[in-house]
Symmetry: C2
Subunit: 414 residues, 2 copies
């Protein structure tokens, strides 16, 4: 089965939003083995929409539409498709009730045009909207299958996952299970990682392995197909084991996790706390840590020591350290980490001091960073980073390196 | 003139990336009055690409391609279009030199397939690539105009702005100048703002006014067309004056600025400094402030006081304050702001204490926030926020409210 994704909405053609729906749907269709050969975006215009539909009917089995199911006159997708394939629109009782109860719940008056959202094509399979009002629908035409989904991603995405994808899986001839797992790496470049697993990448058939780089990280998506879910998972596990045997030291977690989230998790598991003294990162590390719900179990606080004066007065870095070695030095990083750990009575202390740019500082170019790490009952460590890129990129990657080195401490302890 | 944007790349059809190029180009084409009726995405496949091209030639004057100009065998856009419109590919000397010098600069060996990137269609206008290797090109066919741009946004965007857009402006029959300005607002909802300027929105013709909401902010884009640039700017200014007369108190800046950047600018202008004590925001405010280059002129440091113990020990909040009023209280917010201001010897002290969620705290639901503000030689203030949304959204909006209230202090001083 192959599919074409058709987004309906003039806001896309004006560039007000990006077509992230097509990306989302493409990912999920690829996972269940449905090929997507085209994405099309067309405005809120019946004639142009029908031209696109006729073209798509020739080249795809499944036409997936996003957008144009709302209450206003601009919303014309189901009207246009319904009339094109000869399916009149009828009220769906369940959708109507759900729309009415939505207005009661939010204490807003229901305007008559909202009723229009409960109209569906006769004979279609209704896809309930748990996060909005307009239901989706799926209907078989003479030759093609038509699926209509709402435009707002927060409605479309759960509808697709919960209702549309299971329908599609039922339709697929071979009921192969497709399982997929993303491995996340930090501290290794994309090409270095690819070199390490090159033979696996070249030999891949089933499972497939897809590398992707971004934001200083690299991910590998392993996807396996098999009639038995258990076997598919077993195939993924074997590939994962082989990958991690080679580059396991850079691996930090699965799927949609973040490296900060993994660090918080590891600290919680081991019942340990952390404190931070941040110069160039200006609070970004602590902000990432506290973005994780429940961070209060492992984090009491820390200091942003942007100026040298604050490093001395509030984190008690010795004056001589800064005059002799500079603030961007191993010595300063270690004092910051040790002192902040002690001050906040934490198990770990971490510090970041360096040049975010765009200007150099103390004669160091942007991207020069010293990262200090103090652990209770252990000698302190310091790491030097030499990063390229923008101010924002340098700060973000510095924080990720902090999480990376801390996670390595846990690995060392095993 | 109307255009169709055709993205070439299988990574889009697999959902690995979103087609943000189409969004970017649509925005810029709309600004210069070129209508976009379709976006299409097609994979790295000559036959399917040509099918799409033939369809697009019927419905658009200008075909803009993104992607497929790179060095690998997958990159086939210029080969396919060149052979379709009968333009052989020839080496462009300047591009060749620029590719060679790129490899010298980055000290990497130049593999032979990179030379392919210097090939352009005979007789085309070459669009230089200042941020990568593959040049773009523009060429007139029998009936259509073809523009080929590279896929990576960091190469495509500056190429379009610096070289392609000026070429298009030259081609447009009516040489109307189109000017546009974005006004940014915080502290007012989209529908409230729309109500305030409803008559202007209804009456709009030239200039046009387009509201857009996102991330707790609302923007209004004012766009004016006129043969004289000066008159177009004057028209924008008149509309802006009328808008700001009504909702000026929520306005904070123009175009791509951020509210944190405006705050840093205002502090620099007035030669004042700020310190922060952050609880629920966990360093996010300070991270946003230090994301602005040159922040060291106005910021020496601050504290992340996540636990009550740190609030007491490091920011000297009185024990009674927390036992009597709680940490999420006006009294605690004010003490934090005053103490951190004094500790860091700053002109302003700001504090954030509240519930980011997902769980409630001290009997307050997520979104309950007290924001303290201490100014030198003035009585301290506190503001209560009651925000809805996710943990991330609550933290982000809390930080923006902090910037908003601080900016208001400057307005009050005028």
């Amino acid at each position: 089965m192959n599919a074409e994704i058709i987004a309906v909405g003039s806001e896309l053609l004006l560039g007000q939003i990006a077509n992230t729906n097509a990306q989302f749907l493409s990912q999920h269709l690829a996972e269940i083995g449905i090929n997507v050969y085209y994405h099309t975006v067309v405005g809120d215009n019946s004639r142009r929409l029908l031209d696109v539909v006729k073209e798509a009917e020739k080249r795809a089995d499944l036409l997936i539409f996003t957008g144009g199911l709302g209450p206003t006159k601009d919303d014309l997708t189901k009207e246009a498709i319904g009339s094109h394939i000869g399916r009149p629109l009828v009220y769906n009782e369940e959708a109507l009730k759900s729309i009415e109860s939505y207005f009661i719940k939010t204490k807003r008056p229901m305007t008559p045009n909202n009723k229009k959202q409960a109209l569906v094509m006769e004979g279609s399979t209704v896809l309930p909207n748990d996060h909005g009002m307009a239901p989706g629908m799926m209907v078989k035409g003479e030759k093609n299958l038509y699926m209509l989904l709402p435009g707002p991603p927060r409605e479309m995405q759960p509808m697709f996952i919960d209702y549309a994808k299971p329908q599609l899986l039922n339709l697929l001839e071979k009921v192969e299970k497709i399982e997929s797992r993303v491995l996340r790496f930090f501290g290794i470049g994309e090409s270095a990682l690819e070199t390490e697993v090159e033979d696996l990448l070249l030999a891949q058939q089933n499972p497939t392995i897809a590398p992707l780089a971004g934001d200083g990280e690299v991910t590998l998506r392993i996807t396996a197909k098999h009639e038995s879910e258990e076997t598919a998972l077993q195939m993924i596990q074997e590939t994962e084991d082989e990958v991690l045997r080679r580059v396991g030291e850079y691996f930090y977690g699965y799927n949609d996790t973040t490296i900060a989230r993994e660090l918080v998790g590891r600290l919680k598991e081991t019942n340990q706390t952390i404190a931070a003294a941040e110069s160039l990162t200006g609070g970004l590390f602590q902000s990432e840590i506290t973005a994780v719900p429940g961070a209060s179990a492992i984090f009491n606080g820390g200091v942003v020591c942007y100026s040298n004066e604050v490093k001395e007065k509030l984190v008690q870095v010795k004056k001589e350290t800064i005059t002799v070695h500079g603030a961007i030095s191993k010595e300063c990083a270690i004092e910051l980490a040790e002192n902040v750990r002690r001050q906040f009575d934490a198990d770990f202390g971490i510090s970041f001091t360096g040049v975010a740019g765009p200007d150099e500082a103390e004669g160091h170019p942007p991207g020069t960073v010293w990262l200090g790490l103090a652990c209770k009952d252990k000698a302190p460590k310091a790491f030097k980073l030499e990063l390229a890129g923008s101010r924002t990129g340098i700060r973000k990657r510095t924080v990720k390196f902090g999480c990376h080195y801390l996670l390595a401490e846990f690995a060392n302890d095993k």
